[in-house]
């Protein structure tokens, strides 16, 4: 009996000791949340591991899908699980405005001029990837007669098949673009009840042909399996798919496209504020940011990073079509989404389910 107990007892002690040893590790810890998937891998390689090694800190990862509730409840209950948060423009504006992420004077840590071309640093956050969202299709399927405009995207007679669109309120901007609203008029149009109705009426035209996607991985997967004929897709996903899976996905950038940033921000009230700022400064600096961009295939918002970026990547960016770009940002844009993100998200969810 005694003999049989010994191994069990030892293993219990072992587990306890292991657990304790884990606790005893006294170095500083920085808890970072990212968008998961490919972003998590790229962040780990380009930023987390080098930064952890350089500073002798431990980095703990988590991921989220921009569920604002998770950010909000942590700050309101004072039970923080994150120190640094990767966040989209809409949520960043809202969180900065409502005090869920820290206000930081970034000019003390980096040169804001480096980021000016890509929309700039904000009161709270630093942009770390410039995401292009555009009309993508499989070049092997539409080799003779590729779609060239958002009107073509809406034309399900000439180009049969489903259409992939992002299930977020910001897709209303695409609907208006497809309805012929010039990029600089989109927010002004959406700000009126008639403009919102107009956007929904446009979506109604192809309602039964829309396949709504919710994650970037899903957007290219439905394109790859032929579930949809065309889709609104973020450029990094397409570039990665073409590079790693040897696909021939193409963009119709001449149709017009959306340009928006992802940001890194510091959680409000974190005890690691300085370390978090140091991390964001490091991640957005030239070489680490270029490493991240090369891996994720998104453009770097810091112009100093451009010289370290893979020239092949730059070729996938819509540099020559910048007159067709709809740039998400600016005071009017931010104010609009602070007020309307919730109500339009709900109206879209309602409309889709009706």
């Amino acid at each position: 009996m005694k003999n049989r107990m010994t191994p069990a007892l030892l293993s219990v002690i072992g587990v306890l000791a292991f657990g304790l040893a884990d606790r005893v590790y006294a170095g500083e810890t920085l808890r970072i949340v990212n968008n998961g998937g490919a972003v998590a891998e790229a962040s780990r390689e380009a930023w987390y591991e080098p930064f952890a090694a350089e500073r002798g800190v431990e980095i703990v990862e988590d991921n989220w899908s921009q569920e604002y509730a998770r950010l909000r409840t942590q700050v309101e209950t004072g039970n923080l699980q994150w120190d640094v948060v990767e966040i989209t423009l809409n949520h960043m504006s809202l969180a900065c405005n409502e005090g869920y992420i820290e206000q930081v004077d970034w000019s003390e840590h980096l040169d804001p001029a480096d980021f000016a071309d890509a929309g700039g640093v904000t009161d709270c956050a630093v942009p770390i990837m410039s995401v292009v969202g555009g009309l993508a299709y499989d070049g092997d399927v539409f080799s003779d007669n590729p779609p060239k405009s958002w009107a073509d995207f809406w034309d399900v007679e000439t180009w049969p098949g489903k259409r992939g669109l992002l299930f977020r309120a910001s897709t209303l901007e695409i609907a208006l673009m497809a309805d012929g609203v010039p990029p600089d008029q989109i927010i002004a149009t959406l700000s009126t009840p008639e403009g919102i109705d107009r956007a929904f009426a446009k979506l109604e035209e192809i309602r039964d042909h829309i396949h709504w996607w919710r994650s970037g991985a899903e957007s290219v997967q439905i394109l790859a399996t032929g579930e949809v004929a065309m889709a609104y897709v973020w450029n990094g996903r397409v570039a990665t798919m073409n590079k790693t899976e040897n696909r021939n996905f193409r963009y119709a950038f001449e149709a017009g496209f959306v340009l928006g940033n992802q940001y890194l921000a510091v959680m409000a009230g974190t005890s690691e504020r300085e370390l978090a700022i140091d991390f964001i400064t490091y991640a957005s600096s030239a070489e680490p940011l270029a490493r991240f961009s090369n891996r994720m295939r998104y453009g770097p918002p810091n112009k100093q990073a451009l010289e370290f970026v893979d020239p092949e990547l730059l070729k996938t960016l819509p540099s020559e079509y910048m007159d067709k770009a709809y740039i998400q940002g600016g005071e009017a844009y931010i104010q609009f989404w602070i007020d309307n993100l919730e109500s339009l998200t709900q109206r879209l969810a309602t409309w889709a389910a009706q």
Binding site: A69, F167, W212, I338, T350
Partner: protein, 395 residues
């Protein structure tokens, strides 16, 4: 004698006390507290005590007088921090879109403001304060309890002349409740149609075969719900296995749409829920001997009559238990419709999750959850009335 009885009863109660307490603390209390959120208005009333006290006297039409503006200004400056202002703005935005930025701008504006907090100061910070519509929202919501969320869950709202239906483009939840009930009924019937013969064969075949069949039923039962659902995606998608086989056989020219619609939801949900019908039904059928059916047949009853009047009544408890189990589980389904359904195939649980985690509107989440719970209770009561409560328990 009587004392001994009472003592035994007391001991009985003491023995179940821990589990009763456990149920109360970890089941009844949290659910009750969450359901209370569907009418709770303390976030709003508690944040604006002075304004709420004053606003009852306002006539609802003209610009409010100076004292009401003062009360509002004082309430705003008394907010402890910016996140308190944020939750106030979010709460008022549920009533009227635009309140979020109005509250935030007023809060930050008043922080910088010096001098009196009255009408002039507030309208200078944001001219929307001169619009009575914004004040009417506060007046309407001055009570500690609000019907806002419960009404919204039934596509209703409070207008100037009482309760009215909301405009059609925002109507959803009544349809959604009907849809949820309908999908659940359809899945239950499909499970019954597929499960009854299966359970019958299992119960009437030899021990070897029936135990193998039991394993086949249990194997998917033990597999993760997500795995089973994604397996259906692989099978049913546009270039999936089913379409490929049908095309090879020359039965179809173009791929069929088998997924991301209602059909996909029925197929996947029926597959996932089938064991919940088969297992209780099998256990009941196993207990039914062949004597009565043989006797009926021996007395000259045709097979259909034997089945209808002798066999079916005996296995009815199993059918009822299995069907109610499947129906109640189906009512709360969320992951499967999200993965294999289209936007028009989402059920009420999808919106409860949406209001809990995406839009952070716990009042709406609580009211929808309350309505779902009510549906289950009504169903249970109806069944109990119909067949008697004791028969609901599977033997």
């Amino acid at each position: 004698m009587e004392r001994a009885d009472r003592r035994r009863e007391l001991v009985g109660w003491l023995l179940v006390a821990p589990s009763l307490l456990f149920m109360a603390f970890f089941f009844a209390v949290p659910i009750g507290a969450f359901l209370l959120r569907s009418v709770d208005n303390t976030d709003l009333v508690g944040a604006m005590p002075r304004t709420m006290a004053e606003i009852g006297g306002w006539n609802g039409q003209d610009l409010p007088d100076e004292s009401l503006f003062m009360a509002l200004g004082e309430d705003f400056t008394a907010l402890p921090d910016i996140t308190a202002a944020a939750s106030l703005g979010r709460r008022l935005n549920h009533n009227l879109t635009g309140y979020r930025s109005l509250v935030m701008r007023t809060f930050t504006g008043l922080r910088r403001h010096e001098g009196p907090l009255g009408r002039e100061a507030l309208i200078a910070i944001d001219k929307r304060w001169s619009d009575p519509a914004h004040w009417r929202v506060i007046q309407q919501e001055r009570s500690w309890l609000t019907p806002l969320y419960l009404l919204a869950s039934l596509d209703l709202e409070r207008g100037p002349e009482g309760i009215r239906t909301i405009p059609p483009e925002r109507r959803l939840f009544v349809d959604l409740l009907v849809r949820t009930a309908w999908i659940s009924i359809a899945v239950t019937l499909l499970c019954l149609v597929l499960g009854f013969p299966l359970a019958y064969v299992m119960a009437s075949s030899g021990p070897r075969l029936s135990s193998w069949m039991l394993v086949l039923v249990l194997l998917p039962f033990w597999t993760s719900l997500l795995v089973r659902t994604t397996a259906w995606i692989v099978l049913l998608q546009r270039n999936g296995l089913v379409n490929q086989v049908l095309e090879r056989l020359g039965l179809i020219d173009a791929p069929l749409t088998l997924i991301y619609n209602r059909l996909g939801v029925y197929i996947a949900m029926t597959h996932v829920l089938l064991p919940f019908l088969v297992l209780p039904l099998y256990s009941v059928m196993k207990g039914v001997g062949g004597d009565l059916t043989r006797a009926a047949a021996g007395l000259g009853a045709p097979p259909s009559t034997v089945f209808r009047r002798v066999y079916l009544p005996q296995v009815m408890p199993g059918i009822i238990a299995g069907c109610s189990l499947v129906f109640v589980l189906a009512l709360g389904y969320y992951i499967t419709p999200a993965l294999v359904g289209g936007p028009r195939d989402q059920m009420i649980a999808h919106f409860i999750a949406y209001f809990t985690s995406t839009s952070v509107n716990w009042g709406m989440a609580a009211s929808l959850a309350g309505i779902l719970l009510l549906m289950v209770v009504v169903l249970y009561a109806a069944l109990a009335r119909l067949v008697g409560l004791d028969r609901l328990k599977a033997r």
